[in-house]
């Protein structure tokens, strides 16, 4: 019994971690007033860069950091379009989702002799209790270190957004940029930083998939996780703790699927696989209901406009 509980927790944490990184990034971007629909594309770039750099350098953490840098770079495109050019953020985000996987697979084919997947890395992200792991029930809890990093990040971000001056500035820019501007807050600078941070975190999310959970990048390594992270942002009502909680919920529902699937239940696996999404919708109807985005989210800010 104890071992199936720890197994449940272990799987929950494993599934939720890539989502959590990306969703926390989404929260940062949205709170500063820039909708980030391009999370999926940024995650894919991160997943590819992480696995590739991890393979060539042999360093998992090197790959992880490179993934963040790559995610941040593609986020810069989104920032330039939506902040400087005041473009439609939805369109720009969709463009990122098309460009991200395109660039990842294009470079992948060039580097790996036409293959759409990278060669598995030899050094994955370390496990919490080392590669030997614990024994018995504890073994199931021997999760990747990224799990802890994501959790710590959620806590830090919560403190940062609500207890520090900088967090206040970000939220002000997201709610009422003109008012923030009169207060002497640099709206553009803050938005740029937030979108780039969002890309870096999405990149980390992608890399925590291809460097910790599976050892390589494949065309389906990131298939929809970015959108689920986006959903988690909305589900969590644009707060770090809410988004992280939503990711845990998705993870838990996935874990339930895995555990039920392994049991003696006579339920087709496809129906079980639907469960997380059905549960989410039911929870939304019953408990969450109306959600309001940060007021200025999705709206470009033009200095001096009324």
């Amino acid at each position: 019994m104890l071992s199936s509980i720890t197994l449940f927790i272990g799987i929950t944490l494993m599934y939720s971690t890539p989502l959590a990184f990306a969703a926390l990034g989404g929260v940062v971007s949205e709170r500063s007033g820039v909708t980030n629909l391009g999370i999926e594309g940024m995650m894919t770039i991160g997943a590819f860069t992480g696995a590739t750099v991890g393979y060539f350098t042999g360093s998992a953490w090197g790959g992880f950091l490179a993934a963040g840098a790559a995610g941040g770079m593609i986020a810069l495109l989104h920032a330039f379009a939506s902040i400087t050019c005041r473009a439609d953020q939805t369109i720009s985000g969709i463009a990122i989702n098309l460009i991200g996987p395109g660039v990842a697979l294009f470079i992948c084919r060039i580097l790996f002799d036409g293959a759409t997947m990278t060669v598995p890395v030899t050094n994955k992200i370390p496990k919490l209790f080392g590669s030997a792991g614990g024994s018995g029930a504890l073994k199931n809890l021997n999760v990747d270190v990224t799990v802890v990093v994501a959790l710590a990040l959620a806590v830090l971000l919560r403190v940062f957004l609500y207890k520090t001056k900088w967090g206040f500035h970000i939220r002000a820019v997201g709610e009422h940029p003109a008012a923030a501007d009169t207060m002497g807050i640099h709206v553009y600078r803050i938005r740029y930083l937030c979108v780039i941070v969002s890309g870096i975190l999405a990149g980390f999310g992608g890399a925590s998939m291809t460097l910790a959970i599976i050892p390589q990048f494949t065309p389906t390594a990131i298939s929809g996780q970015g959108f689920i992270a986006l959903a988690a942002v909305i589900f969590g009502k644009w707060t770090p703790h809410g988004a992280y909680g939503a990711c845990l919920l998705f993870g838990a529902a996935q874990a339930l699927t895995v555990i039920l699937g392994g049991g003696s239940f006579q339920v087709p696996s496809e129906i079980l696989a639907m469960l997380p999404y059905v549960i989410t919708i039911i929870i939304l109807i019953l408990f969450v209901g109306r959600s309001a985005a940060p007021k200025a989210s999705g709206q470009p800010y033009e200095k001096g406009a009324r």
């Binding site: 989702n97 294009f106 929809g224 696989a273 639907m274 109807i285």
Partner: protein, 375 residues
């Protein structure tokens, strides 16, 4: 100068500029990766335009994108972002396949029945998103993403059912032949039909070598119908008013929630229709087990954006998208450049579409030459 400025400000010109930049960036990337740029681009274009066979293949590839694009555009006009087009398309495929396999009526009944099944499934799926938004205020993007996954697994569930699964394959049986929508599909296989086709080069290339289906005709008709509905009827005005400013619409007595629901039902229905034509018009005429999303719905978002949400524009944007996808295959085959360059082209085009609105103010600045600055 004024005339040039006027032309530059037209949405169509701006789209062309975006497309130009898409190819420019692709050219730069190809050159940077060490491929012959001009040769690659000419192979890409040749792959599309050299001969009727290729053109009809492009049309076949474009048809689902155009139809789904129109569906997405319809929701966009009402201010709704139908990211659930993917799921609605999948459900349309499932419904068309199951009904097409189970029922076997003469084509006059069978074809409308299969198409209606697709429309209904898409409409129900779209309608649920609209309902949850209207009734509980749940963000449509959030529910759409969940419904996409539910559709994916539901499709796999159906595809694995004993009743539908074709043994030793990855998918279902084909639907009954009476539901096929290829143009002159059955006539082509008769003896006299073959004779006529073999003797006419154009017809041989388009009809015999490829399977053009009625979907493209439906797409054109639908684009006109949807434009009429949106711009010439009261209902269309209401829908667009909700999209432009829901509070203003509400204050004039328009029922916002009802219109949101209607928009999502129609948008989903169109995506379902796209799926039904896809199943009835394209081999293998059934669904396959999906390992991941096939992206018809997501690509349709790109089509709709390039077309600036104009239903007629979706025809051309869809052809561009489908043409690039098709031409990309020959690029990979002949030059060896990864076909993913196509996704980059399209992504860059969409990216520049997002930027195009900065052109009019720039044009104004240049055409005035600074002399009106004092004003």
């Amino acid at each position: 100068m004024d005339k040039a400025a006027k032309i530059l400000k037209k949405p169509f010109t701006m789209t062309l500029i975006a497309i130009f930049f898409g190819f420019l960036v692709a050219g730069i990337i190809l050159a940077a990766a060490g491929y012959p740029t001009f040769h690659s681009l000419s192979v890409l274009l040749q792959g599309v335009f050299s001969g009727p066979k290729h053109i009809s293949n492009v049309i076949i590839k474009s048809t689902p994108l155009i139809l789904t694009g129109i569906g997405v555009a319809f929701a966009f006009q009402t201010g709704l972002f139908n990211i659930g087009a993917e799921g609605q398309f999948i459900m349309g495929c499932v419904a068309a396949t199951t009904v097409g396999i189970v029922c076997d009526f003469p084509p006059v009944i069978q074809i409308p029945l299969v198409l209606a099944a697709g429309v209904l499934a898409g409409a129900v799926f779209g309608g649920m998103v609209g309902f949850l938004k209207a009734k509980f205020g749940i963000h449509e993007v959030l529910t759409s993403i969940m419904f996409n996954w539910i559709a994916l697994y539901f499709s796999n569930f159906i595809s694995d059912l004993k009743r539908f699964h074709k043994p030793d394959t990855m998918g279902t049986y084909a639907i009954n032949k009476s539901g096929y929508t290829m143009i002159l599909g059955s006539w082509k296989t008769t003896k006299e039909g073959k004779e006529v086709l073999v003797n006419n080069e154009f017809l041989r290339d388009t009809l015999l070598k490829t399977d053009v289906n009625a979907g493209i005709l439906a797409a054109v008709v639908l684009a006109i119908l949807v434009s009429f509905l949106l711009y010439k009827t009261t209902k269309g005005f209401e829908l667009r008013a909700v999209g432009a400013n829901r509070f203003a619409a509400e204050s004039t007595g328009i029922d916002v929630n009802k219109n949101i629901l209607h928009a999502m039902i129609i948008s989903g229905g169109i995506c379902g229709l796209a799926a039904a034509f896809y199943i009835t018009g394209n081999s293998p005429h059934g669904i396959a087990t999906l390992a991941a999303f096939e992206n018809t719905g997501f690509n349709a978002l790109g089509v709709c954006l390039i077309a600036a949400s104009s239903p007629i524009g979706c025809i051309f944007a869809g052809l561009l998208f489908g043409g690039l996808l098709y031409g990309g295959q020959s690029l990979q085959y002949e030059v060896g450049a990864p076909s993913e360059i196509i996704n980059i082209v399209i992504g860059v085009v969409v990216f520049f579409v997002a930027l195009t609105h900065i052109i009019p103010p720039l044009v104004d600045r240049f055409s005035k030459g600074g002399k009106n600055h004092a004003k």
